[in-house]
Chain length 391, copies 2
């Protein structure tokens, strides 16, 4: 099979985005709803900070949209992950299984708990954690002792596993829940990229014990910076709110805090933006799926690569669209990235794998052939919802 | 001396705020400048998140206003403190000297570093850390060994001292710098409450190695939620920016991070609010000082308490105004608080002292008589800048 020709690739991309010329960013926010009205209301009333109705309303909207019983708005996706791991009981010295192919926040959140990330390989079909491989690996290196999963080599408790729904594509979450159940692992979903993505009719982020969402500026919807913890557990939800608001006990005027808490609450002005954005989420997802369909068609005839499509059982938000180079064409990745960017088309490779970074290079890991192969082959391309024509 | 009569106290307060009736909150944001214009510009351009000109501009304004060489905007004051302590070299197992009389964030930030807060007593004149008492205490329990301050009892390194400018009133920072120098302690200023407060002509937050500001909704100026790190050190400033933006190495498209970083950047939309607010900071401080003068006059004739005034050498922002009960009247505190709040006047005591909280009760501490006395005697009263008449 021929290597991809950069002119052909760029022509196909421009065709998919209806001939749009000039600079095309990777993913931009889009404010075409009630953003200004709600934000102005915050400014007019002076309620921009911790107190204010938009935080409650945004949490209710998130709960309604995802079907999670509770949503707790926080300051960003990293904070959400940190709190999720705390709620899952991650202790200093524990190990937490995370994909090597993920954004840095997944690994950092584990570090913040004083725990060690333990890297797991990915599956070609989902780009996310591979449950079958994880099972074989755990059967080899771990055992359940006193109701806990223990790493036989390090002696550490493996407390949790954190599947990440890469680029919005759901992992095989049902198989993963089974593996996790067998090994007594808590499941924390990193759903930072997958708001709007559904697996077998159920929203991502509602399968694990707790889950993290992100509303960073490059996400499907944005609050400037923001995130949320999702859970169906009433007690965990209450604890999440407590932990993210400095663990202060409710009282009209006294300041008593009963544990080490965090200042992770989402300001009301950012929540106001979220309330306007979530009203448009279904439309954004519809458009992003339409853009993905256009890309698939446009790249069908281009040699040396394929457009990555959602896995079986999933209805993905296609947060970040991705091209996958043929195995024979991996040497072309950086040339293609340079060509895209030279033409004003923002494109990027997947994140450097976690075990390549200096602070995580000595962490435990399984063989990571698939993640390493994907790293050489994936290219993210522009994915903003306004790149398709209005209906 | 007679105990304070709650009716007389409330009448004095209402007189100071020009007879204003009804509910009076403790401290409310005030948006009378370019807030709308700048925030709308963010929404119109789509730059609400990490990229955008308002973060740079806000940082330059903070630097200009305070005289600190560098200001690095972050997501809140707690995050700023956490980063300051990291920059000061605080390691797991270290001890960090902080006042027992402070907001919980000071102690929590120490915990986030895996270090232990070590509580210090306050001075009556400043409500902040007492340098003379600290000297005597350290001379007793610590020694300098290999260029580091070591707690002889615990064996731990005492890495830093964190003076907090309580309610905006500057501590005796020059004496403290001397004590810290003698014992080889890094000085991290917790200036969360003191933006606009000056000590001997120099802005608080510019004396220590690094300092933390806060722009929470209840502060002198607000960004919804926000904070900043101040420093005069070019290298530390660069490191602060790196640590607060996930420690990612600059590159057009690759994602390489070289240490465990944090997602602490301030979103552009919050920085836009900050740009508008800081334009009004001098006027807010002028008004707050005028309100303090009105309170001082109004409470002059009320028995059983005094209005707390700024210490010698200081020009305070009077962030939160405070009444101090006479020693004989401490039993009246909660009754007065209830009376204030029953009349719609939001008032509160000072924070519960850190060593009383369950997670910090076993931390090392010096005798804390003054802090404990102040805790029984202080009452914060409404302090919004709009409580005085326009000029």
């Amino acid at each position: 099979m021929a290597a991809p020709d950069s002119n052909a690739v760029i022509a196909a991309l421009r065709a998919a985005v209806l001939g749009r010329q000039g600079n095309i960013p990777l993913h931009e926010p889009w404010f075409i709803g009630n953003e200004w009205g709600y934000v102005k209301d915050c400014l007019d009333t002076g309620w921009v900070s911790s107190a204010g109705k938009y935080v409650d309303r945004f949490e209710a909207s998130l709960s309604g949209y995802t079907g999670a019983r509770h949503a707790i708005a926080v300051v960003n996706g990293t904070a959400a992950l940190h709190i999720c791991l705390k709620l899952a009981g991650v202790q200093p010295g524990d190990e937490v299984l995370i994909p090597a192919l993920t954004f840095i926040a997944t690994a950092n959140a584990v570090s913040y708990c004083g725990a060690t990330p333990h890297f797991v390989d990915s599956a070609y079909a989902t780009l996310g954690l591979d449950p079958a491989k994880l099972y074989d690996y755990l059967a080899d290196i771990a055992e359940v002792r006193g109701g806990m999963c223990v790493n036989r080599k390090s002696g550490a408790t493996i407390r949790a596993v954190v599947p990440m729904h890469t680029f919005g594509h759901p992992v095989e979450i049902e198989s993963l829940l089974e593996v996790a159940g067998g090994f007594r692992l808590e499941v924390v979903e990193d759903a930072a990229e997958s708001l709007g993505s559904v697996y077998k009719g159920r929203h991502t982020g509602t399968f694990g014990k707790v889950s993290a969402l992100s509303f960073n500026g490059n996400k499907v919807i944005t609050t400037g910076g923001g995130g949320a913890v999702l859970t169906n557990d009433d007690h965990l939800a209450k604890h999440a709110k407590h932990l993210t608001t400095t663990a202060r006990l409710p009282h009209q005027w006294s300041f008593i805090h009963d544990e080490v808490g965090y200042n992770y609450r989402l300001p009301n002005i950012n929540a106001a933006l979220g309330c306007a954005q979530i009203e448009q989420l279904s439309e954004f997802v519809r458009r992003k799926r339409e853009l993905a369909a256009a890309y698939r068609n446009a790249f069908f005839g281009v040699s040396g690569l394929v457009f990555f499509t959602e896995p079986a059982g999933a209805c993905s938000n296609y947060w970040l669209n991705a091209l996958m180079l043929d195995q024979a064409s991996t040497g072309c990745r950086d040339g293609l990235l340079d060509a895209f960017n030279a033409h004003g088309i923002m494109a990027r490779p997947v994140w450097s794998l976690m075990h390549r970074l200096p602070m995580y290079q000595n962490c435990p890991r399984m063989p990571l052939e698939v993640a390493e192969d994907l790293e050489r082959r994936l290219i993210n391309i522009p994915s903003s919802p306004f790149l398709v024509a209005t209906p």
